[in-house]
């Protein structure tokens, strides 16, 4: 009788440990999962802020001030240019400089880091820009 109770207790304890391990794995997975940012999240990160971005293809760093009125001021290699920017309802951020047509891309968060992504024809996503730092206000006006 005692050995049967012990066996049942062992099974209960093992099941509890297994459940804890599974819950732990699930929490980690959801924290690290890559997901597309919502329109509100994009607004919070960009409107009225200066953002440091790193182009993952060219390795160039840019600083862009996203003015709430839709104007974008960008500096790269000590040269500034003016453009326009906006956020679409689906959360895509659009940027245009000079006479070029605006390019609109989704942003994702992956392990706490923010990226701009480019999907190919088959829907495979490539990260093209990493956003390194978001600072309040127009930091470019100070320098």
């Amino acid at each position: 009788m005692i050995s049967r109770v012990t066996r049942i207790m062992r099974i209960v304890i093992l099941a509890a440990i297994a459940a804890l391990v599974l819950v732990g794995c699930q929490t980690t997975a959801s924290r690290d999962e890559q997901r597309v940012l919502t329109v509100d999240e994009v607004r919070r990160l960009f409107v009225g802020n200066t953002v440091e971005s790193h182009n993952l293809n060219t390795s160039f760093t840019s600083f862009t001030y996203y003015h709430p009125n839709g104007q974008a001021i960008q500096e790269r290699l000590w040269v500034r240019r003016l453009g326009t920017w906006s956020i679409q309802d689906d959360g895509k951020i659009c940027l245009a400089f000079g006479k070029r047509k605006a390019k609109c891309r989704h942003l994702v968060i992956d392990s706490g880091k923010y990226f701009k992504i480019l999907p190919d024809d088959k829907g495979k996503i490539t990260k093209i820009v990493r956003y390194r730092y978001f600072a309040e206000g127009n930091a470019l006006a100070k320098r």
Binding site: E52, T58, T61, R76, L77, W78, A139, R143
Partner: protein, 183 residues
């Protein structure tokens, strides 16, 4: 411009201090004495960084002492966040040599520096990093660096100097792209 893809712009030069800025707009204040580590570093958007000043010793004495003489000094690093630490350096001048740099024959001074910490109990030196580098006095620049830490080795060479009137975006971006692609 350096072989590792770094690019820096000289912003000002006054009172024996040079203010450099890299393409991430991080600012570095350097001494005219090449054995001195960066005097101040400030990151652009975060404002984070640190300042460093000589604690004990006289690193400028390396200019008068014969080659091979060890010059020891400490540097007090104060982070803008308030933390402070002390770094120990030993440097020596290895000698002079003539070498072509950026197409011109120049006199270079070679230096070897080592950073270490001293164990409190045993007073033993524990290695942290070494730097062996060549400095061109007429350019006022380190033209070649070999750095070793406990985990990795790295090195770079000066590959280009672009005067302000020629530093167009087109020219700079072309050169930087080429250097970074070759890394």
């Amino acid at each position: 411009m350096y072989s590792d893809g770094r690019v820096e712009k000289l912003m000002s030069h006054r009172d024996g201090e040079l203010l450099w800025e890299d393409d991430r707009k991080r600012q570095f204040v350097r001494s005219e004495n090449p054995i001195m580590p960066v005097l101040r570093r400030t990151d652009f958007l975060s404002g984070k960084g640190h300042s460093q000043s000589v604690g004990e010793g006289n690193p400028d004495s390396i200019r008068q002492l014969p080659s091979g003489t060890r010059v020891g000094f400490t540097v007090v690093r104060a982070r803008y966040s308030g933390e402070r630490s002390i770094r120990n350096w030993d440097c020596k001048h290895l000698g002079k040599r003539q070498e072509k740099v950026l197409g011109v024959m120049r006199e270079l001074d070679s230096f070897a520096c080592e950073r270490f910490v001293i164990q409190r109990k045993t007073w033993q030196k524990n290695f942290r990093e070494s730097r062996q580098f060549s400095y061109s006095r007429d350019l006022g620049l380190v033209v070649e660096m070999q750095r070793k830490t406990r985990k990795k080795s790295s090195g770079w060479k000066l590959v280009s100097i672009v005067p302000p009137d020629k530093a167009s975006y087109k020219r700079l971006s072309k050169k930087v792209r080429k250097l970074r692609a070759a890394r």
